[in-house]
């Protein structure tokens, strides 16, 4: 399929063709709106939770995973890089459109229900350092959180609501569990930050 303009030039002059031009312009404008409204990838990361892990905010990463596949906020790390970006509105600016973000969480669990729910979101983060590593911690409320209720054998794709990033800064993808993970349970997650312009 392709886009097709609704009107071509009529074999006359004046008013009809002027109306056609206006109709074509409106059609093109709608098509451009449709394109900008599609969701596009901004950030992507993986993470996992294993049995016994208590409630915490853990950050997704895309490097060679740690034993838990996610970095506990407030802990030191010298090996793994969280999925993060300095986000400003200008990065996703399209003239005449608002910027929207959304969290998309793909979650899979094993044969045992992990219990509770897990939220996936964008967190503002800050860093400090020690001799051996740097410390990463969350500094504010999660943005765009989408909660997924845990169950055995889960395989789900969940989209959050559109949200805006009100303050420029460094943000990271993370997840937060409401309950300690049950024995023999595990959560695997792929999380995307998507953006669009509407």
């Amino acid at each position: 399929m392709t886009l097709t303009l609704p009107h071509s030039l009529d074999p006359d002059t004046g008013g009809a063709n002027a109306a056609h031009v206006q109709a074509n312009d409106a059609y093109l404008r709608d098509a451009i709106d449709d394109y900008h409204a599609t969701y596009k990838l901004a950030l992507e990361g993986q993470g996992m939770l294993v049995a016994g892990q208590t409630t915490a905010v853990r950050l997704m990463n895309r490097t060679n995973g740690s034993a838990t596949g996610a970095i506990a906020a407030g802990s030191g790390t010298s090996l793994y890089v969280p999925v993060m970006a300095y986000i400003t509105n200008a990065l996703y600016e399209v003239g005449g459109y608002d910027r929207k973000f959304r969290i998309k969480a793909t979650v899979s669990t094993g044969a045992v229900s992990p219990t509770g729910s897990v939220s996936f979101a964008l967190w503002p983060v800050e860093f400090s350092s020690s001799l051996a590593n740097f410390i990463i911690d969350v500094t504010g409320a999660a943005l765009g959180a989408v909660s997924v209720t845990m169950a055995a054998g889960l395989e789900s794709v969940t989209n959050g609501a559109d949200f805006e990033v009100p303050t420029p800064g460094i943000y990271a993808l993370g997840m937060s569990n409401t309950d300690t993970l049950a024995a023999n349970s595990m959560v695997m997650a792929g999380v995307q930050l998507q953006t669009r312009n509407v």
């Binding site: 303009l5 071509s8 002059t13 004046g14 031009v21 098509a31």
Partner: protein
């Protein structure tokens, strides 16, 4: 250009009207070109130091997972057709894979694909990985090789969860690491 506006201009048609319709056509062509550009939907990478022939394994950032794995999360992603839908346009996907290796080549065919899977299992995490929905293959590897393949466009799969996977047709011959990246792309035509 792909589309042209049929027209017959009669004498006396105002020049600005003709120009405006020409501009419409040019803008439509530019918009279609923009929509037809390949963009990233998801991507993955890994490395292996030996793989046996057999069932596909989901790719991890550290390699690929066997029947169950408790160390690394796999590259999984969701497909939702509505995310990408544009009226009057068709969404296409394709895969792009790149492999590099040292002097010890894998010496087998490496097939990279996207796989539907189910999470239930008898162990802590043992996804049931189905045959690939779409794939690209790298064959005839050589020592110190760099290869990249671009797959043909394909129809997006049904909405759901998918993982990047790797399959080998014969066990990798050597045991030194080889590394790879896979990217799932989309466009509108």
């Amino acid at each position: 250009m792909a589309h042209e506006i049929p027209r017959s201009i009669v004498p006396g048609t105002p020049r600005n009207i003709v120009d405006a319709l020409d501009n419409d056509q040019a803008n439509l062509d530019a918009l279609e070109a923009l929509m037809g550009r390949w963009s990233t939907l998801s991507q993955a990478w890994g490395e292996n130091s030996g793989l046996g022939a057999g069932d596909p394994t989901l790719m991890l950032s550290g390699g690929s997972m066997s029947a169950s794995d408790s160390n690394y999360p796999p590259f999984i992603f969701g497909v939702t057709a509505a995310d990408l839908a544009i009226p009057e346009m068709t969404t296409q996907f394709r895969l792009v894979a790149t492999m590099v290796c040292g002097v010890d080549e894998p010496d087998t065919t490496l097939t990279f694909g996207i796989h539907p899977f189910t999470g239930a299992g008898t162990t802590t995490f043992s996804p049931v990985v189905a045959a690939h929905y779409a794939a690209v293959a790298i064959a005839n590897t050589a020592p110190s090789d760099v290869q990249s393949v671009v797959g043909a466009p394909f129809v997006p799969p049904a909405d759901g969860a998918y993982g990047f996977g790797i399959t080998v047709t014969g066990a990798t011959v050597n045991t030194l690491d080889f590394s790879y990246t896979v990217e799932l792309q989309y466009r509108h035509v």
